[in-house]
Structures are given as structure tokens and as C-alpha cells.
Amino acid sequence: MIEVFFQYDFLRYSLYTGLMIGFLAPVVGVFIVVRRLSMMADALSHITLTGIAFSLLLGRYYPFFAGLNPVYMGMVFSISGALLIEKLRHMYQYYKELAIPIILSGAIGVGVLFISLADGFNNDLFNYLFGSVVAISETDFHVVIVLTFLVSLVLLLFYKELFFLSFDEEQAVISGLPKRSLHFIFMILVALVIGISMQIVGILLVSALMTLPVASAMRWARGFKQMFLYAVLFGEVSVITGLISAFHLDLAPGGTIVMTNIALLIGSIALTRKRSL
């Protein structure tokens, strides 16, 4: 079943990228979930879509953009979106969560404008929404490797600090951690991981791959380190199962990956019924 993925380059790239996503998304997801930023991940993935639509639109007029993977523009948009959300959070001290819907709806609005200016949906856009098994070119693949390495390195280096900040912000600040810089770095990581993941999972389901494996892991894990272990395990299982079934059944991988995750989650809840969280 899986052999076919090694026969063709483009499938091999997708599979390897999938494996990296199956690692990255849940790892970043653990921090997203414990910091209660799931909505934020959702918002950023929609902003990524706006960037992609913008890039596709530019591609009609400038050959440079036609040759460029629109995902890069998507990443630029989602990083800027993360910054804007932070700005707004400071303006609405007491209703911080308001920042997210403001940016989210704004981004979708602008995105829709771009899409209609570019003469509506085309096949590309469909792939970005729901994911594709064949989206990864060789260059993209190399970029994914570099980004995966960078994101993992930064997460490893700041593991302690991010952990502390997630657990107890006040104490973390007292012990001298630079809260705002850390948060900023983290949001950039999230934006990058969304950009990488969406090529396979699709924008609408990226945040699912960040949160569902973590939701399953929570049922099993004792301690924070184990959260990563279980989350990555569930993430990888879902990506591999999802990609293979998507290819053979000719479905969008976003759907199959998320459905696998839902199945794993239901299984986890059923098997750990006695624990309530």
C-alpha cells in the first residue's frame, strides 16, 4: 500500500513532508492547547488563506508570483496577522479574546475579495483549502526540511521557558522570563507550521492537526513531556493513515487525516473513561 509513495518522487515528497507535519503540528499544538490559543491557530490559518489568495491574484499580473509557491505569501500574512492580534490584545485589556474574531473576519473578508478579483475558485485554491497529496515540489520539500529543523531547534531551545510561561505566567515573569518576546517567537513558529502543514492538510483543517492529537494525548499523558510523546505518536499515525487512504481512495488528505484523528480521539476517550480532565 505504501510502496507507491516511493515509486514517484512527488508522492515521496508528500509522504516525507507528511511525516514532518505529523511531528511539528502536534508539538506546537501542545503549547497551543495548554496556553488556550486554539482559536488563535484557527485565525492564523485563515489569514494564511488570505495571503495565498493574494499571491494567486498577483500571479495573474506578475510572472514572479506565478512561479512562487503562494504558501510563502501565506506565511508572511499569518506572521503579520499574529502581530496585529497581539497589538489588538493590548488595546482591549479586558476583552483580549476579541482580538481574534476581529482579525479573523477581517482576513476572511479581504481573502474573499482577493478570490473574486482573481476570478473565483480554481483548482489550486481547492487544494489549499482541503489539502492535496501531490502539492509538494522538490524545492518546497527542501524548504520544509529547513523550516522543520529551525522550528524544532527553537522549540527545543525555549522548551523550558515556553513550558513555564504556559503553566504560570505570573511566576514566569517574576523569574525574569521575557514574556512578550517569547510569545512573539512562539507565534512566528505557529505561523510557519501552519504554512508548512496546510499544503497537505489544507487550511480549513490545519488547526485540527494541531489540536486533535493533543486532545487525545491529554487522556494518556502523565506530565508535560509525555504529552509530546503521545501527541506526536497520534499525529504521525493519523498522517500516515490519512495520506495512504487519501491516495488510494482519491480523497483530499485533509479529510482523511482529520477523520483518523477523530477516531483516535474517540478511542482514547473510551479507553480512559475513568479519568476526567
Binding site: 521557558e161 513550558f163 504556559s166 503553566f167 517574576i174 502523565r222 509525555q226 504529552m227 480532565l277
Partner: protein, 274 residues
């Protein structure tokens, strides 16, 4: 003994603080020499936690300055010399998947430094701190699954693990059972006697506290009293009347009411009930 000759751990100079328009602290002057064990008391809402937050640089005073070990708090950077247990230690989200070991480790993060991980020695320290508060049987349990008092002990261990030279505890024993409270106070006294750690203990448990501390400060918006335990004992009744409006039964746990500004005849009755 000449108190003034000891170097100061804390030096608060003409500090005032207001939330929005509500003045909470007015013209506080307080010097705490290193090696003191200070009990900070005052009715609910008297500004104790606010003062602590100013001390830690979490709040910026409207007026006045705070110095820690001679350095203005704004420029202070030796934060791992300072341990703190906040009043609402339960402010963390209680489903958080972290073990007792992991939580106590956080107390060492400042010391370990950026881009480094805990080594064997650090881990040993963490285990010792956990044993010190009697939580060694729970070392691999998730913090969210412990009782409130047990969680509080874990946070105390986290504050102790970095061997701070100043330890600030804001009502650390709320929810901790009576026997453990006595053990805890004894442990604090030992830290103070043997290691010379400067301690600030915010508490309503005036009776029990005064057996262990060296100094007492009474706060109610202004600093009504600050001196050593003996002069506090001498002026106790006067102080308490000034602060709480009535004489208080000092041996009871006094979770006081907000009526301290007024003189209600029913107050005594209500206190006896608690």
C-alpha cells in the same frame, strides 16, 4: 543589636499605589534588613498582596521606589535569588498536564539559564525540595490531580528549590492542614536561622505566626507598625484596635471582614463565629 548596620534586603521609600483611582497604598516606608523573618499582617483588602506585587516589580508604584538588595527593582535582575509563592497559587489552569517534578523544576529555570537543561545535580535539588515539603510520594503525579493543600506545598517547594536569599510568601498556608502548618512554620524558621534567608510571610494567622517571626509589620493602606516582635507584643492590643477597629482574638484564624474602617457593634459577634 544594631538593626540598621545589616545590609537591606528590601528598601521601600515613600511608596504609593492606586488601582485606577482607588488608593491602596499610601506613603509606605519600610526597610527590611537581610536575615529578618517578617510577618506582614492586615485586614482583607489592606493592600498586602499589592505591596508584594510592587516589591516584585509586577506592579509599578505611582510614587516612590523599591530597592531589592540595594538595586532599584526596575533594574534588578537577580530574580532567581527570590522565591515567591503567590496568594492565588491556584491561578494555574488545574487540568495542566505537568507532574509535581516538572512544576518544582520551574523554580530552577532562571538559574539554569536560557538554552540549557537541568543536569543531574539540578534534578537532585528538585527531589530534595519536594521531600522538604513532604510530597515525595506524589513526585510523578499530575499537579491538577492533587488537593489544594498539596498543590500549595508543591508551589512552596518550587519557591525553595533555587535556594533563594529572599523568600516571599503570600498566605502560603491557606488550605494546608494544621499539623502541616506548624511543620511549615518550623521549616521556615529553620531556613531563617540556619541559612539566614530573609523571609516575608503574609498571613492572617497572627497568633501562630508571632511565635516564629523576628519582626512584624501591620499594613492597612499605610504602614501602621513595623518593628521587632517584642515591641509588637507590647503594642499588640493597641495595634490591633487601630487596624481592625476592635480587639481581635489573636489566636484564631482571622479572615477578617471589609468593615474595618467602620465601627460596627456586630463585628465582635461575627468574628467569634468564624
Amino acid at each position: 543589636m544594631n538593626e540598621q548596620s545589616r545590609p537591606l534586603a528590601i528598601d521601600i521609600d515613600q511608596l504609593s499605589f492606586a488601582y485606577q483611582n482607588q488608593n491602596v497604598l499610601e506613603d509606605i516606608n519600610m526597610k527590611v534588613p537581610q536575615g529578618s523573618f517578617l510577618g506582614l499582617v492586615g485586614p482583607n483588602g489592606s493592600g498586602k498582596s499589592t505591596l508584594i506585587k510592587c516589591l516584585l516589580g509586577l506592579l509599578t508604584p505611582n510614587q516612590g521606589t523599591v530597592k531589592l538588595f540595594g538595586v532599584n527593582v526596575k533594574k534588578f535582575d537577580r530574580w532567581n535569588d527570590i522565591g515567591f509563592v503567590s496568594q492565588k497559587a491556584n491561578s494555574f489552569n488545574s487540568g495542566f498536564p505537568a507532574t509535581v517534578f516538572e512544576v518544582v523544576s520551574m523554580g530552577l529555570y532562571g538559574k539554569v539559564g536560557l538554552f540549557r537543561f537541568l543536569n543531574r545535580k539540578h534534578k537532585q535539588k528538585v527531589r530534595e525540595a519536594i521531600a522538604q515539603v513532604g510530597m515525595e510520594d506524589f513526585i510523578n503525579e499530575n499537579i491538577g490531580q492533587l488537593s489544594g493543600g498539596q498543590q500549595q506545598r508543591v508551589f512552596i517547594a518550587r519557591a525553595l528549590v533555587s535556594d533563594p536569599s529572599l523568600l516571599i510568601l503570600d498566605e502560603p498556608t491557606v488550605g494546608v492542614d494544621a499539623k502541616s502548618v506548624t511543620n511549615f512554620y518550623t521549616m521556615l524558621k529553620k531556613l531563617n536561622d540556619e541559612k539566614g534567608i530573609t523571609l516575608i510571610l503574609v498571613t492572617h494567622d497572627i497568633g501562630a505566626m508571632s511565635e516564629y517571626v523576628t519582626d512584624v509589620a501591620c499594613l492597612n493602606k499605610c504602614l501602621h507598625f513595623h518593628g521587632n516582635k517584642h515591641s509588637f507584643e507590647e503594642n499588640k492590643e493597641e495595634m490591633m484596635t487601630a487596624m481592625y477597629g476592635h480587639e481581635v482574638n489573636l489566636l484564631e484564624h482571622n479572615h477578617d471582614h471589609d468593615h474595618h474602617h467602620h465601627h460596627h457593634d456586630h463585628d465582635d459577634v461575627r468574628r467569634d463565629e468564624t
